[in-house]
């Protein structure tokens, strides 16, 4: 996975990196050593500033500097005009997707004001609790975890101010530790976290282990595409100054098919995917079928007939809801063609394939028919 990411850098991105000393060189990142952990700087979702360590990691000296930098602005978590403004703006849209998918999955009434009554939800990388509090207001029993202690403190303080959210439990811990404690949750939500994790495969395995038997997972991240480079890195960091420079590493973004593959190896299956688009005129985010920049995926544990994808193999995986077949996987030219059919009448998933980087890799975009996300 690391090698493919390196190869997929466009040449001009490498040029840019040379000229910008702030930008972290991918080669300079300690992530090539699977043991250590990259310390991401502040970004649009600093709540993902977690250190998901593997068993043999040691915190580097860089970590304290990063933590301090993040801790400095963590007081502004709940200032909706402050550095976390893009996150506050995006929040209702993400919640709309979560609400609609989880209501359908758990057969809850979408017109109820508290549809998640009785559900245990964990918000991995909760930051200041921007996502946890609305979930609690929707009736869920929320646990929020983050690796930064100060975030947890801020989150607890803010949640205690409102009686509807004061029963949220916040812990300063990591997903792996919770897996060790054998905790299970009905819904595991990890938004804007996976692009900051050292080993995304391990992380996905932890998420899957935290999910209860008939539960669900929601993951959101940024796509590694030209458009996301232009919007999330160039526009957001350098032109509009929405985010501090160096917040995101384009190379650590995951394309939807890579995410699907990783999740499949963690025995969970992507059921729905949607993208977020920003309308600069109205200044609002909305859900759409355009997953080229930000996207969110609703994932369910695979119930039977699990199959791991090997290179050159053709496998057909069936489960009770739909059919997934991998038509071909060739390591030589790194082409993946995925075909997903769903038999649910309200969804139609079409695949559009386009080639990028002169056939070094192929991006497959799953286009989901737009539907009413807000009930």
């Amino acid at each position: 996975m690391a090698s493919s990411k390196l190869l997929s850098h466009p040449r001009w991105h490498r040029l840019l990196r040379r000229n910008l000393p702030n930008a972290r060189l991918f080669s300079g990142l300690p992530s090539q050593h699977p043991g250590s952990v990259p310390e991401p700087q502040n970004h649009s979702d600093p709540k993902s500033n977690n250190k998901f360590k593997t068993a043999s990691s040691t915190p580097s000296s860089l970590k304290e500097a990063e933590l301090a930098k993040f801790a400095a602005i963590s007081d502004t978590w709940w200032d909706s005009e402050g550095p976390f403004k893009p996150l506050h703006n995006m929040n209702p849209t993400r919640l709309a997707f979560i609400r609609s998918t989880l209501c359908r999955h758990f057969r809850k009434d979408p017109l109820s004001a508290r549809p998640f009554e009785g559900l245990r939800i964990i918000d991995v990388g909760c930051g200041g609790g921007i996502l946890s509090e609305p979930l609690a207001r929707m009736g869920a029993i929320v646990t929020g975890i983050d690796a930064v202690e100060k975030n947890i403190k801020i989150a607890r303080l803010h949640a205690n101010m409102d009686p509807t959210t004061s029963n949220i439990e916040y812990y300063c811990t990591t997903a792996e530790k919770l897996v060790d404690e054998q905790r299970k949750f009905d819904a595991v939500i990890a938004l804007e976290v996976i692009e900051h994790v050292a080993d995304s495969a391990e992380f996905c395995k932890s998420l899957s282990a935290l999910t209860a038997h008939e539960g669900a997972t929601v993951v959101s991240t940024l796509n590694r595409s030209m458009r996301s480079y232009a919007s999330a890195i160039v526009a957001a960091e350098y032109l509009l100054h929405w985010l501090p420079k160096g917040t995101h590493q384009w190379s650590s973004f995951l394309t939807p098919e890579e995410l699907t593959m990783i999740l499949k190896r963690a025995s969970v299956d992507v059921k729905e995917m949607a993208g977020f688009v920003f309308n600069p005129i109205t200044g609002r985010w909305s859900l759409s079928d355009d997953i080229s920049v930000n996207y969110i995926a609703f994932v369910q544990p695979i119930t039977r007939n699990e199959s791991m994808l090997e290179s050159g193999e053709q496998s057909k995986v069936t489960r009770n809801i739909g059919t997934t077949s991998v038509l071909g996987w060739s390591t030589g030219c790194k082409q993946i063609i995925l075909q997903l059919d769903s038999i649910e009448a309200i969804e139609a998933i079409m695949i559009e394939s386009c080639s990028m980087y002169n056939t070094l890799s192929m991006t497959v975009r799953a286009i989901v028919q737009p539907r009413l996300w807000l009930v």
């Binding site: 506050h88 919640l95 709309a96 609400r99 017109l111 979930l135 101010m161 009686p163």
Partner: protein
Amino acid sequence: MVTVKRLALSRRCRQNCGHSNRIDSSEATHRFNQTFKSIEAKPNRSAKEKRAQQVRSSIPAMNRILATKAGSNVYRLRFPWRPFSNDAAPKLSSPTAGNPEKGSEAQQYDIAIVGGGMVGLALACSLASKPLTKHLNVAIVDSNPALGRKNFIKKDDLPDARVSTITPATISFLKDINAWRFVEQHRHAYFDKMQVWDYTGLSYAKYNARDADREVLGCVVENKVLLSSLLSHVQDMDFLKKIHPSRLTSMSILPNSSSSEVDSTSLMTALFTHGRLAKLELEDGSSLYAKLVVGADGGKSRVRELAGIRTTGWNYSQNAIICTVEHAVENHCAWQRFLPSGPLAVLPICDKFSNIVWTMTPKESSDFKSMTDDDFLKAVNHALYYGYGPHPTSGILGSSDLFSWLKGGISSSANDCFEIPPKVIKLASERMAFPLSLRHANDYASKRVVLIGDAAHTVHPLAGQGVNLGFGDASSLSSVISEGIAVGTDIGEVSLLKKYEADRKPANITMMAVLDGFQKAYSVDFGPLNILRAAAFHGAHHISPLKKSIISYASGEMRLPLFA
């Protein structure tokens, strides 16, 4: 000696009476006076005793006046705002809000609608009809005693002079919230024709609902009918609401603070000091806490003033006179004639009654208000008929040939000739005069406060759009609140309220600009401009796509004019 004692009592009363207890002090005075009366019932009185008698008799009134003045002054000025006490009367309350009798006065609501007029009650009904918001706890603050009564309309009353023209868009909104069936039980008048002309006699425009493929152009309903319908609907439904029959005196909202001090006072005051709740204090001394305060209290909104939201606008140098009149025949058409000093509109109410809205200069309006009924009727007929200028004859400009190619074969009311409005024979109500102005709040929303209806915008009545904009606001705000609850937002957050503002502000500003444009265009009597206006009338009358879009825009179906 007696006098000194009485003055001492009044001084004590002045000191002791807080915001309430007006009744108490005057009652105490009354009892005090009773005892003195029994002592001093002597037939022969010296001059001194006569003076004492006079002072004594005036004390109850004096004390009441003092108590009222003292109460309001004392409450507002002398007693500094104390966050932890719900009752400002010093002799009774303890500084903490843990006092159970006083603590029960302050209740917490999700939404406090200040102003129980048509728009405020429409918002309450709309919240009650949506599944996501019907569990909300709502307080309605309005000192109108009619809100406490049911069925305050008697069927045999003459039509009230205060009416509103309800557009089809508002009718469908009221049908959605299930309140229209109550209106249909009372007096209401649909109209499907409208004729507009001006004093120059150069042209006219006739609108028919058929032109835009509709049944009606609008419905004229008395304000009290609308109010009672909405009130009975809201009371019928299983909706948590409480009507506070009092006026708002002060409102406080603190900035968000996340200090972790543990307050020993009640949860509500703790939430309030952290900025999660707004505190409203009412004139009768009670106070309430709410997550969101909705200002629906009219053009001189107290909520807007307390929230510090500034307005832009100007006063038109015009007053409007409204009254109900009777015709000899039934009237189903709305008439509007633009006169040099302002438009005169005749709206059908029902049977043979109509409502007149006559805009004129303030001096004229005081003259017209004070003249006798007969003189007024003569003036109205004069204004409708040959006064100020001739009637337009159908077919001056572009009778048929010029614009026939534009008509496109659709039968339109362009072929209708000018109709003469029915004569007014009797005055059926008192004449009321109101000054007209244009006001627009710069922001509709601030932290935990949002404005709807006339509190956010006041317009000229020439197109009957004012209350319809307000109903549009109520509908939009309830959708926004419902969407906010769907994603678990705190409903007092400014970001959510700004969505409502972004939805309604452009539509409201456009309508205000259009109405203001009309008002300005018709206030000038200048030859070429008159011709231009006449041409515009002709265009609107004959060009059916234009007519359709005008009718659609005025019916509220289109948000912006001309962009279908």
